[in-house]
């Protein structure tokens, strides 16, 4: 008889954040990546305080110190661990400030694109009909064109500048969010709890926002992480090409672009170090995103 039943002990399932962290920390790589990313985020937010100098304060930059190799010291005893660029700016400080711009632009455009795309995707799934057909056709067509091309089209039409770059990044990204939001909302809207909400005669707005949307967050977070990494990379590319951010807002891409001209003379550090910072940022976000995707993917769950 049920002898074995009482022998078994049941672990209470972990809930909420604890469960999330347990799942997440299954991959040590992802934990390291998260830690690295948080460090970068900290540096970006507090760049003016953690940088050795303000690279854009003209009084402290001396053109005489231009293109000093890493580990140099200038006549006034300032130490440049990553060297200086063509204008005599400390590379490390320039990278810290650059991270600030790159992450800021990436995060802002990602957030707006998330809100815009998710609203469209959720409404499309919820209301269906012609609205859905038309919106999803637009999404399909847009997604069949590479993001770099979309961004070039937009920048070619509007010209360059901070707002324009952000607008271009939003317009490039929204379709990914719309597709992800619609896909999960289509599944959610047929579940009982939505039916129950209908029976309570709740308004469409309320059902979408407080019932369906929270249950579609998981895939959106995954898309959001990977898209933000992509947006940062795209912004860097555009700025490198000289079509993105202006010189007054030097992002990592622009720093790399500035260093490109010195490379043939062997001054590798001006291009390489900002690139390494960019790479570490993108890789850490992608690794975190990959782990989130594996966690939320029902097909991979045990």
């Amino acid at each position: 008889m049920g002898a074995s039943a009482n022998k078994q002990s049941f672990d209470l399932p972990a809930t909420g954040l604890r469960k999330f962290w347990l799942d997440f920390s299954e991959s040590p790589t992802a934990v390291i990546a998260l830690f690295v990313f948080l460090t970068i985020l900290f540096i970006a937010i507090f760049a003016p305080w953690v940088s050795p100098s303000n690279p854009y304060d003209l009084t402290s930059v001396d053109i005489m110190n231009s293109r000093l190799p890493p580990g140099s010291e200038d006549f006034s005893g300032n130490f440049y661990i990553l060297g200086t660029d063509g204008a005599g700016r400390d590379m490390l400080s320039a990278i810290f400030y650059g991270l600030r711009v790159s992450l800021g632009v990436g995060a802002l455009s990602g957030l707006v694109a998330l809100i815009l795309g998710a609203s469209i995707g959720l409404s499309a799934a919820y209301f269906g009909g012609r609205f859905e057909t038309i919106m999803m056709r637009i999404v399909d067509i847009q997604l069949s064109f590479p993001s770099i091309l979309m961004a070039l089209i937009i920048l070619a039409a509007f010209g360059k500048g901070v707002e324009k770059t952000i607008i271009a990044l939003i317009l490039v990204q929204w379709a990914y969010y719309a597709r992800a939001a619609r896909a999960s909302a289509l599944v959610e809207k047929n579940k009982e709890y939505v039916e129950a909400a209908h029976c309570l005669a709740l308004g469409d707005r309320r059902i979408i926002l407080s019932h369906i949307a929270p249950n579609c967050m998981a895939p959106l977070i995954v898309v959001g992480t990977l898209q933000t990494a992509h947006a940062i990379s795209l912004e860097a590319t555009l700025s490198f090409l000289g079509l993105g951010l202006p010189i007054t807002e030097p992002s990592l891409g622009l720093l790399i672009g500035n260093g490109f001209e010195y490379m043939y003379s062997g001054d590798f550090w001006i291009s390489i170090f900002p690139g390494v910072a960019l790479l570490i940022t993108i890789v850490s976000i992608n690794l975190v995103g990959d782990q989130l995707r594996d966690m939320f993917n029902p097909r991979l769950q045990k």
Binding site: S144, P146, V283
Partner: protein, 324 residues
């Protein structure tokens, strides 16, 4: 099958029509077409003349009609910088871009599929983990930066390969390409590898995902139960099945290779249409930009069509039923 192709072609024409409308609206309604299409340094008389020529004084619907009519005749405006028809400029530079994109695609497929299959067959092995880590890295590295690193290492540091421009060309069977000369090959290697790297990562991921899925299917186990050698199971049974999604994506990715060649061509000073468009955006040479956009749209729509047809040829389930 014929009906299928016909229907798909019809759909493509509709998409082309919509895209031409979007480009037209973008040029004529969002921006000021006078600004967009006329050299900013032109005087008033010149501006009036061009406005008349372009029919900008007429109703919008009529303007669109002329835009399409001109486009069909290959007239997409004249470059401000070169003073030549924009279309001609682009067509001149197209072979260099196509050559670069094709060589990159070849590199991505030739290396990506075997690596992806290996990683899919032995997911826990050290080599597979290295492959996948490399693919995340390749996925994350911005193309332009990889290009810089390649130049720095192979051209500046080692001095093995040239870093700028296209090499000598030669003609074989009516195809003129730089891959037929040693000098050409040495020039194309770095930019092609640069462009391939990003696609290589996605081909690896795709081949791996496909392998992992197909390998669990009963027909693979049944093929083994028939006593087939493992190499045949992989080469025929596995490969044929994963090729369907891989070909689809590769076809679509070819378009994105052309798009990303804008970056690679700029880094390596490759004289293709990608470098032309970046220079043109930079110099506000708008007729060239518009012409490039129209050409790219045509290329994309054609690619989608070809991929769809290819897909149906590869998958007997679609081919024989005729409709999907």
């Amino acid at each position: 099958m014929t009906a299928f192709i016909l229907r798909r072609s019809l759909q493509s024409i509709v998409v082309l029509f919509i895209m031409s409308l979007i480009v037209f609206v973008g040029v004529n309604l969002v921006g000021d077409p006078v600004d967009m299409l006329i050299n900013p340094e032109a005087d008033q008389a010149e501006i009036d003349r061009v406005i008349r020529d372009l029919g900008l004084d007429r109703p919008v619907s009529e303007q669109y009609w002329y835009f399409v009519l001109n486009a069909f005749q290959g007239d997409l405006g004249r470059s401000f910088i070169f003073g030549e028809p924009a279309l001609k400029l682009i067509v001149q530079r197209m072979p260099a871009t196509m050559e670069l994109a094709l060589v990159s695609l070849l590199m991505a497929v030739v290396f990506g599929i075997p690596l992806g299959i290996y990683a899919g067959l032995k997911p826990t092995s050290k080599i597979s983990k290295t492959i996948m880590a490399g693919s995340i890295l390749g996925f994350s590295m911005p193309t332009f930066w990889v290009g810089i690193i390649l130049i720095m290492f192979f051209s500046v540091h080692l001095g093995w390969l040239p870093s700028t421009g296209r090499g000598d060309v030669d003609t074989f069977f009516g195809v003129t390409s730089s891959v037929f000369t040693l000098d050409g090959l040495s020039h194309i290697f770095l930019p092609a590898f640069n462009l391939a790297l990003f696609k290589l990562s996605s081909v690896i991921r795709l081949a791996r995902a496909g392998t992992r899925e197909v390998i669990l299917q009963d027909y693979i186990k049944f093929a083994r139960a028939k006593g087939l050698a493992e190499s045949r199971v992989v080469r025929i049974h596995l490969l044929k099945n994963i090729m369907i999604p891989v070909i689809t994506i590769i076809g679509l990715e070819f378009g994105s290779l052309i798009a990303f060649s804008t970056v690679t061509e700029t880094v390596f000073a490759w004289p293709g249409m990608g470098k032309l468009i970046i220079d043109s955006i930079y110099n506000l040479d708008r007729p060239v930009v518009v012409a490039y956009l129209m050409i790219i749209v045509v290329i994309f729509v054609m690619l989608n069509l070809i991929v769809d047809i290819l897909y149906s040829v590869l998958d007997p389930r679609v081919r024989i039923k005729g409709v999907s």
